[in-house]
Symmetry: C2
Subunit: 284 residues, 2 copies
Amino acid sequence: MTFNRDKKILIVGLGLLGGSYAMALSRKDYRVRAITKSQATLDYALEKGMIEGGSATVSEEAVAWADVVIFGLYPHVFREWIQSYQHYFKPGTIITDVTGIKGDFVREIQGMLREDVEYIPAHPMCGKEVSGVENADDKIFIGANYLVTPTEKNTRQAIELCRDLGWILGCYRVVETDIDKHDEIIGFVSQLTHCIAITLMTCNEKEHLEKFTGDSFRDLTRIAKINDVMWSELFIENKAALLEQMKEFREQFEKLEEMIASENVSEMREMMQRSTARRKLFDK
Amino acid sequence: MTFNRDKKILIVGLGLLGGSYAMALSRKDYRVRAITKSQATLDYALEKGMIEGGSATVSEEAVAWADVVIFGLYPHVFREWIQSYQHYFKPGTIITDVTGIKGDFVREIQGMLREDVEYIPAHPMCGKEVSGVENADDKIFIGANYLVTPTEKNTRQAIELCRDLGWILGCYRVVETDIDKHDEIIGFVSQLTHCIAITLMTCNEKEHLEKFTGDSFRDLTRIAKINDVMWSELFIENKAALLEQMKEFREQFEKLEEMIASENVSEMREMMQRSTARRKLFDK
């Protein structure tokens, strides 16, 4: 199953990510509609040509129109939506999402879903430190990694369709991984980094620090502007994996504190050399 | 005393920063020479028009030529240089530096310096994660903060001259602060961020993480490519202030761990809101 232009795409939730999907897909001439709770959001997306139509309420007509449904909702809203409205899906509908946590959440959604509808979990590794459809921007996908996390419930066809979606959006690398490994890795590369940024931003309350700041500090705290509703939910949904990653980070940080306290230059240099070599792998 | 073009400038140590100073000043038609230990470095700088001349050895002729001497050396090399060669300075010479730590180090240099030569400590808040004159780039100064840290030994004239230098380089903000406050702030905004980046880069040894990484992780680890000789020295020279900042960071990080473990959403959101508001102050 490839992602042809005869597939009609419904986006549920036109926020920063949902809006960026709509923009990317409409630009490439796919048929895109949306369901989102605010009429103003719909009007904006229509005016900008991000969607061909949409609705601020959920109806069978709006949902059954689609071959593919992409959920751009917070995890608990996505869960409630499926419970309330899944009877509207057309048989054979493929659904996917943008949710940065998977694991138990995916098992739960797949467990409650109708047999004739398939949920293939995925998300791109990109975003912005602002939210809302007016900040949507399909350039965020360019060069990003796109992660697909199938389970034993998924068919090869739906996996291929979802991988295709990643390429169509403009991602440079599409990676398949299992959901538990995914959560551990996301706990590390995404959630831990946000924890560090907000800690750094709030651990020293001195005024006027901006006058002394260089780019290092700015880089480490770019993501300290954070959507508190979304991220507190994501942290809790992935609590076990995240806490494990935080512990490993803290233990390594404490080792560095000891090296500095004891002026152990050789250990410090060895750690810095390891850091330098490893960081080179992550250049885009 | 303003930084007129009749001031002859000697740069000692043509590394990344020394080279960038040379580039910025020569571009603006100042007379710049250098002393640096490698002939190849000198040849490179001459060929690129960064200096009008220079020497790979230290001589009275080379040193006494200058009205202003800018030291681009590691702290312990700077200290040794002053001990060995300060008798070569012309009376009335103003010296300054690019050293990111001040405090006791400044007191030591000023304490050993001839009475007829004045050391005005300063440095720009910028750099690169690579070293060497071939990476010199005067664009690093554009928009940076430039810090001047006078002591009671400094004259107003030398302070003004040094402030002028910051503007001439292209910095957007020139800030004066006392040396102890400086070290505390630098411990926080610069050294702590490097500690965090190298910890993050070395606390999880899993392979192929780059396939899953987004820009957040890349931003937080850009500076994890680090000059191990220089930074291990800077950490130790500023040990007390840095360890205090590391402790404050770690304690705040532990609070966040507790919030996540106990699923305390309201505290987490409050911390994220504080983080978001505070980060806005640091936009360039």
